[in-house]
């Protein structure tokens, strides 16, 4: 019976999405609150594009916008992609070209040449259009969720997605996935660019803020870390730089992003609260470790392999509480940084 209720609830949610998408002008607040608790697979690609600010809320402008933006992206390719071997840009391209085949070594789809070339173009175009930061290792990971979600629209059975052969898809479809991934990644990066500019001030600030937050919400944990000379930078740099993507399975990142995209500045501000609830979730385990090396090893290999949407939902609920507690007092967190 319980299962039936869940199925009914999901069907009802899906209906609400479909209704919303058909409205001449989507109420973004309504869409955000609907998406916050997770988006059904079948409507996720469209929902993400709207939440990203890539697709307009107005229904009759959507098709035209897509066409224009996709053409614009392939215009960039035509205009800039040949510059990748010029002296000014060769190093940027070389680094991207070396990094891409090293991504997600355990997911077969990312070993395909075709996929790697798509990622190279997306990242190269983004990098040379954003010289203030350029390409930084880690940014490549951030393309993955968009790519996988937008691809899922064209794959019959999602389970096979990680193994599917992209050569079986027509080029027109691949182009759509590539252009949409480019624009949505760009929108995301616009919100966190200070993570990747010189000296990475955004990350420094967030690592400090995380420290301040933990001091307030879990003093024994903070004391434990300090007593053992563990510094927040040592474990949370990667959390900030890669938005926790290296710490949880890809399916969980996708669920997490449903909520990040639904929050205003989700990838910057709300992410901090998620990191705080994430470390707090493991507080007992960390405090069980009795030396520096044990703590570090644990924090670096957190047991999240088996995590499902449910675990992410719990994490997000905790993060939401923190946001509620501290949002009115942001100065508390910034004071010491």
């Amino acid at each position: 019976l319980a299962q039936n209720t869940t199925i009914d609830r999901e069907a009802a949610k899906l209906d609400r999405f479909k209704q919303l998408f058909d409205e001449p002008n989507i109420d973004l607040d309504q869409l955000r609150s609907l998406c916050w608790s997770g988006i059904p697979k079948s409507v996720r690609p469209t929902a993400w594009k709207i939440l990203s600010g890539y697709l307009p809320p107005s229904l009759d402008r959507r098709e035209a916008t897509l066409e224009r933006k996709r053409n614009e992206y392939f215009g960039f390719i035509e205009q800039y992609y040949d510059t990748r071997y010029q002296e000014l840009h060769a190093e940027t391209f070389r680094q991207i070209h070396i990094d891409i085949p090293r991504m997600n070594p355990l997911i077969p789809i990312f070993q395909q040449k075709l996929v790697q070339q798509i990622f190279e173009r997306i990242l190269y175009i983004w990098a040379i259009r954003h010289p203030a930061s350029g390409y930084v290792q880690g940014i490549n990971d951030l393309v993955t969720p968009f790519f996988v979600v937008f691809l899922s629209e064209f794959i019959d059975n999602d389970i096979e997605l990680e193994n599917c052969d992209l050569r079986e898809l027509p080029k027109s479809i691949l182009d759509i996935i590539e252009a949409d991934s480019f624009w949505c990644t760009s929108k995301l990066l616009d919100g966190i660019q200070d993570n990747y500019t010189f000296a990475q001030p955004g990350i420094q600030m967030k690592v400090n803020a995380l420290h301040e937050l933990i001091k307030r919400i879990d003093a024994p944990l903070n004391t434990h870390l300090e007593n053992h000379c563990v510094e927040y930078l040592q474990f949370s740099f990667r959390w900030m730089n890669n938005l926790l993507m290296r710490e949880i399975p890809l399916r969980c990142t996708i669920r997490l992003w449903d909520t990040y995209l639904s929050e205003v500045n989700g990838f910057a501000d709300f992410h901090l609260y998620v990191c705080a609830s994430f470390v707090d979730y493991f507080s007992k385990d960390i405090q069980r470790e009795k030396d520096f090396q044990g703590i570090l090893m644990f924090l670096q290999n957190l047991p999240t392999h088996h995590w499902k949407d449910k675990d992410i939902s719990e994490l997000l609920a905790e993060a939401f509480k923190l946001k509620y507690m501290f949002a009115d007092a942001p100065k508390h967190l910034n004071q010491k940084s």
Binding site: Q137, F198, N227, D291, M297
Partner: protein, 211 residues
């Protein structure tokens, strides 16, 4: 051994991106050669050396993270400076980018230069000669008494086939945390090179630092 909250020695690995820093440390610690994602920030590894704990910090090669490297250099007892033998530009980075970094933060830090991917380059196609490698390694250690070092501070390795990988680490550990022949056999470490090491007098205290 118990009751110690911090490792006894901190070793930091630096070098350009994709020269094989993570592969080097994984070959040594896990005796594996697998594909690695680019390291973000730095990754922590732990190695037992006789009665001691050694912290190995494998830093990310991306130039954007250079500021972080300062942080990881603090109190390092030794630094491995890795370059890709099939890419001479990565050798230049060692003095252009990493030498200034080390000079400013760690005077008494032992520096070991390590060429990687030896299996990829036939000897006749090498750009960097053995002499050049050794010369840089000695320059890096100027001001440090390395007469007690049982080996040249320069190695050429292949993480793929394992050549000379453990020698790098054991040379460093033996210098920073000397073990006697007895201790080595007690902890199941090879004693084959022990003759070399026996030349040096035992030193009582190990370097300590917060890792």
């Amino acid at each position: 051994m118990s009751g110690k909250r911090k490792p006894d020695l901190k070793v930091i690995i630096m070098g350009d991106y994709a020269v094989g820093k993570t592969s080097l440390v994984c070959r040594y610690i896990e005796d594996k050669f697998i594909k690695h994602e680019p390291t973000i920030g730095a990754a922590f590894f732990l190695k037992q050396w006789g009665p001691y704990n050694v912290a190995v910090w494998d830093t990310a090669g991306d130039e954007r993270y250079t500021g972080l490297s300062h942080f990881y250099c603090r109190n390092a007892g030794a630094a491995i400076l890795a370059y890709d033998m099939s890419n001479p530009q990565t050798f230049e980075s060692l003095w252009a980018r990493f030498m200034p970094l080390l000079n400013s933060s760690t005077e008494k830090c032992l520096k070991i230069v390590v060429g990687t991917k030896m299996d990829l380059i036939p000897p006749e196609e090498r750009d960097i000669t053995l002499e050049e490698g050794r010369k840089l390694a000695h320059e890096l250690n100027e001001g440090l008494d390395i007469s007690k070092l049982a080996c040249e501070p320069y190695f050429e390795t292949s993480s793929k086939d394992g050549s000379h990988v453990s020698e790098v680490f054991e040379c460093i550990f033996q210098y920073c945390l000397p073990l006697s022949g007895d201790q080595r056999s007690k902890f199941g470490l090879s004693t084959s090179t022990v003759d070399l090491y026996e030349k040096e007098p035992k030193r009582a205290t190990a370097k300590k630092g917060c890792c």
